[in-house]
Amino acid sequence: MTSAALQAPLRERATGSRRYRQILWLLTSRDLRVRYSTSALGYLWSILDPLVMAGIYWFVFTQVFQRDVGEEPYIVFLLSALLPWMWFNGAVSDSTRAFLREAKLVRSTKIPRTIWVNRLVLSKGIEFLFSIPVIAAFAIFGGATLTGWVALLPLALVLQAVLTAGVGLIVAPLVVFFRDLERAVKLTLRFLFYASPIIYSARDLPEGLHFWAAFNPLSGLFSLYRASFFEAELDWLLVGISAAVSVLLLAVGLAVFARTERAVLKEI
């Protein structure tokens, strides 16, 4: 090591949003590398969970009960909401441990703290994208055809990223102070699974519930995803409400996060 090398002007370090993206990607790729390289069945495990669940619901609702909800083929109908649900569910439940699991890293670096939540949204989102071939296989096998609305897929992805990040930013800092919230969040997610149009369609709800169901941002989101295969599922009113609620949640999430940040850093 010569002192000449030390005195040479430093290269400009990435700043602002470029640095943010650089670090976000660094942490996300670490997550994915750990997930896919530590076990022989890496990729299979990440799709096995939704596959088993879809299999169970498919069996119960097509073989056991007389089903009068959803559309044909039911397995495609089911997966087109179940896979995005896995993204939401995975990111939100992981965000309960966003700070606690990485406490040492959070304490020793000054990177923008929202990265600790956003990298979860991103890595679960990428896992979701990796699971799309599964639904494609079932669509081909089951004889479902794509509609033109598949062009709305990018919109659905953005909407879901906004919604998931918003919820994560609210949950992550609050869990640091109220550990009970971790269990409350898991319970709420289980409730939300049945309260959202995943195994049924929003149109199957009793008349009186339509109004209330619209406020669930997942209703509009799943209607957008499902429009790729089932035109009748698209409901612009639901999508509009979902977009509004998602943006609102993100705003609330950013405010809660900014307000609690200094207390979080002291606590962990």
Partner: protein
């Protein structure tokens, strides 16, 4: 919040005005970590009154640091030295006043904290350096130097958790001290590790100082403080009692502690 303006040069010539400016900074902690909390506390804002179970770890601390200065922080245990370092590293945020740091910081505090047990030494180097803002290419360029300095070449693919604690500190010091940031923060991390390596670390710190870096140094060792620092900050009970030449500060500290 602090400004994010970064300088392109680590040398004194690259920066005009103070690199660190701390004004009336204060931070409080809870005495009892398991104390009750309510939603109301959380959102009550930063200027609320002190609650009975809280104390000020630092208060009314003001000073500025010019580029290239070497500052030693002294004080008995628990008087706020490490907290001050963390404020300057921006890993905790002040409850009142402001702390602005106008150049990049290489923090040698809790240095082994950024490493992940299950990843290999190689992956950890890329991860930690990346979290501190180095691009992949920059790490590529310095990887050899980092490993050589840490004397850890035979363990590149060993999971971090299997290293001895001495190796961990060596690796961490090696990565952080290669960040080439204009400001270097050093806590008493170097107490670990053998004498030979400590001397190597000190040589490296001296090299960085000669290269125009700003140093912020916390230590109990009078010898080390005199060796590197020209100016001292004396903290007692969370307050900045004296800010002056290092010899004066050490004399006052010695007088107060009765040595």
């Amino acid at each position: 919040m602090t400004s994010e303006v970064r300088t392109t040069a680590g040398t004194a010539a690259g920066v005009t005005g103070p690199v660190i400016e701390v004004r009336d900074a204060g931070i409080r902690f809870r005495r009892n970590r398991r104390g009750r909390r309510s939603f109301k506390d959380l959102f009550a804002g930063r200027r609320r009154r002190l609650r009975p179970d809280e104390f000020w770890a630092l208060r009314n601390v003001s000073f500025t640091v010019q580029p290239g200065e070497a500052i030693g922080v002294v004080g008995r245990n628990g008087q706020g030295k490490s907290t001050l370092l963390k404020l300057v590293a921006e890993v905790v945020l002040a409850d009142e006043g402001s702390v602005s740091v106008r150049a990049g910081v290489a923090p040698l505090i809790e240095i082994t904290g950024g490493f992940v047990d299950d990843l290999s030494v190689r992956d950890n180097v890329y991860l930690t350096a990346g979290l501190h803002g180095m691009s992949r290419r920059e790490v590529d360029e310095r990887f050899g130097e980092i490993i050589e300095f840490a004397e850890i070449g035979a363990f590149l693919d060993t999971p971090y958790k299997h290293l001895s604690s001495g190796m961990k500190v060596r690796l961490a010091f090696s990565v952080i001290s290669r960040l080439e940031e204009p400001i270097l923060l050093v806590d008493e991390v170097l107490a670990v590790g053998d004498r030979g390596f400590r001397e190597k670390c000190y040589a490296r710190i001296q090299e960085l100082l000669d290269g125009g870096r700003t140093l912020f140094f916390v230590s109990h060792s009078e010898r080390d403080l005199r060796r590197f620092c020209t100016r001292g900050l004396y903290l007692d009970r969370g307050e900045l009692v004296l800010d002056g030449p290092i010899d004066e500060v050490l004399a006052r500290y010695a007088a107060d502690t009765g040595h």
